[in-house]
Symmetry: C2
Subunit: 415 residues, 2 copies
């Protein structure tokens, strides 16, 4: 199935927002064996979209659109689809009901603009959108599948997961027999090139229709095994075979599999071992605590933390010694360790992680350049600390500090 | 000048990485009056790129490419450009010198793959790339400008800033009369459709070459005014005229203009008024503190906070009364207010924001469904609190809680 992804919106075209939808849709389609050959972004406008549809339908089996379904005058997608399919609007009662319920629950009036969202082209399949007001639409005309989705990422993703992906998956299975199956091996503590050297030439252990991709990120390198197969059970067996082979070679760097993350693996270990964690954060301002609590059920391991942004609060709340701040500075091994030790006592947890650093882009010195971060980890019998430097981008610095803190906790839990 | 942005790479097409280059290039071109009408992303491949160039040159004055210039076998852009322009490679001595210097400084050998980067099509203008190994290339053939840049974002941006933008700006100035000017009005506390109702039909107050776009987000709806003009001063005056008209109608919802955000406007007010802020967070786990500290210079207003995830810590650190937790529950007006009052005393700040809620997706009850959030704001003389419900998506819930907390602080600072 050849797929084109068509994202619509002036704000995308002029670069006011980054197009995250196209990548998300492309990845979701690729995972079920769709072949995404092209992304196109155009401005809002009936003629622009009409031209694009007329030209794309000649080459593609599926055109996935997002954007232009809002209630205001610059949203033209529905109007364009009516013209393109020579269709007329009808009222979709379930959507109107859901709009009414939504409005009632939020105590908001339902104006005409919103009610118009329940009008849909008569020939489309309506794709419910419980997260927003504009439903998705699916047309299947002359062997081409057209899907139109809202531009709001959470709404687009919800409709893709609930309706579009299952629909496309079934089609792909019927048409091409073989569909892809994937399995991911998660590694940490080793760069991509060193991992590739260890693993060696993939052709030596992979057969036809099998693939191995390296996906590097801040969280470590993920290895994605792929296999094209007509048989899910056979595919699964073969994936496990390859995984076993790879674990023999790179096992010490493997921390998990599949959709797990370093966070989920680490917090699962905390729960298993009945341990708790707390945080004392300076340059990250709360980001580490936010990370630990982004998963549902986090109260099983996360107790709380101290955002000791000022030096005064480092002393007052985490009992860091004034002398340590004075002699070594707030960004130092000594202060990081005292923050972790003090936080652990105050917050009464098995482990306490601390982060103190110069997030940037200003504030660096010769000895402690921007990006210098100390991370401490206190447990009952010891405190460990590490120095990092992630460069001078403030946001990247903070994100990587959080990931490294979790990696240090993971190290402690598996050692 | 009609511009198409063409990004090249398998990893973009299958959605493995998000296309930040396209947005960056589009924004840079739009700011100098280029009209970006289309973004296209295609896989690596000579025929794909040849087809695209043949079709784009019919409609566009400028084709900006990024990607496919690396040293490995899947990088095909240079080879394609040679075929497209029927050109031949020549050695570009300054590039070779710079490659040699680079290699020497880093103590790395210069292999053939890298030296080949100094071979360029004979008819192109070479755009130096001090940040990487592949130089950019510019062709000006039959009134179409073709620019090919590396896909590495920092290298692409450097060459754009140093060479491409100045070149395009000169062309646009010479060739084009009208160029676009933009101005953004930032609103909060009103949904897109209600705002559109208040403003009414844009055609009634906009003239030819003027536009109004609604850009909704969690932070509120941004209104982008656009105007095509030959005269920057006149354009600016007219934008201010339209802004004045709109402020009359929707002024109470306007919190700022241009590139500001609710966060930056709010923290600017804190600094102006010499006020400080602290936070006491439960369901957001630190996300509000992380938001306040994501800007450089945040120590001017943000002192710190307490991540009181457990009830014990709400009592121990923020001095919430045990009776309040028992009678009203952790997610209640009373507890939110006590958290803010207690936090303000402990952390010694002008204002203290508290957030306590049921982030979801589990943990709701009939009376307090998932998504129920109480936000408190304590100042010297009073404490205010508000109840929200943002639905059952944990991540959205937490993000919107953070935005609403900042909105409450903004309200307090402007009232």
């Amino acid at each position: 199935m050849k797929i084109a992804i068509l994202t619509i919106g002036d704000e995308l075209c002029i670069g006011q927002i980054i197009n995250t939808n196209a990548a998300w849709m492309a990845q979701a389609c690729t995972e079920i064996g769709g072949i995404v050959l092209r992304h196109i972004t155009i401005k809002d406008g009936i003629d622009l979209l009409l031209n694009e549809l007329h030209s794309l339908k000649k080459e593609y089996d599926c055109i996935l659109m997002s954007g232009g379904l809002g209630p205001t005058h610059d949203d033209k997608t529905k109007e364009t689809l009516l013209a393109y399919f020579n269709d007329a609007l009808i009222l979709h009662e379930p959507t109107l009901d859901s709009l009414k319920t939504r409005a009632r629950l939020r105590g908001l009036p339902l104006n005409q603009r919103n009610m118009d969202q329940a009008l849909v082209p008569s020939t489309c399949t309506v794709l419910e959108n419980p997260r927003g007001t504009a439903p998705g639409m699916l047309f299947h005309v002359e062997n081409v599948i057209y899907v139109s989705l809202p531009g709001v990422p959470s709404e687009m993703k919800g409709i893709m997961q609930d309706h579009v992906i299952p629909f496309l998956r079934k089609h792909i299975e019927q048409e091409q027999g073989k569909i892809p199956y994937y399995h991911t091996i998660l590694t940490k503590g080793i760069p991509e090139s060193a991992l590739a050297d260890l693993i060696g030439e993939p052709d030596l252990f992979l057969q036809k229709d099998e693939s191995l991709a390296f996906l590097p990120s801040y969280q470590g390198v993920r290895l994605r095994l792929g296999i094209l197969s007509i048989d899910p059970i056979q595919a699964q067996q073969r994936l496990m075979e390859i995984q076993a082979f790879l674990k023999n070679v790179i096992g010490e760097y493997v921390y998990g599999f599949g959709k797990a993350s370093l966070l989920s693996v680490t917090t699962d270990l905390l729960i298993q071992k009945q341990c708790t964690i707390s945080v004392v954060e300076s340059c990250t301002g709360g980001l580490l605590g936010a990370e630990f609590t982004k998963q549902s059920g986090s109260s099983a391991y996360f107790i709380g933390g101290l955002q000791t942004y000022s030096n005064d609060l480092k002393m007052q709340l985490a009992h860091v010694a004034p002398e340590s701040l004075e002699h070594f500075g707030a960004v130092s091994k000594e202060v990081a360790e005292e923050m972790a030790i003090g936080g652990r006592k105050v917050l009464k947890t098995t482990y306490c992680l601390s982060i103190t650093g110069i997030a940037g882009p200003d504030g660096g010195t010769q000895v402690k350049p921007v990006g210098t971060v100390w991370i401490g980890l206190a447990s009952e019998h010891e405190v460990v600390s590490k120095r990092f430097n992630f460069g001078n981008d403030r946001a990247i610095n903070r994100e990587r500090s959080v990931m490294q803190a979790i990696a240090m906790l993971h190290d402690a839990l598996v050692s």
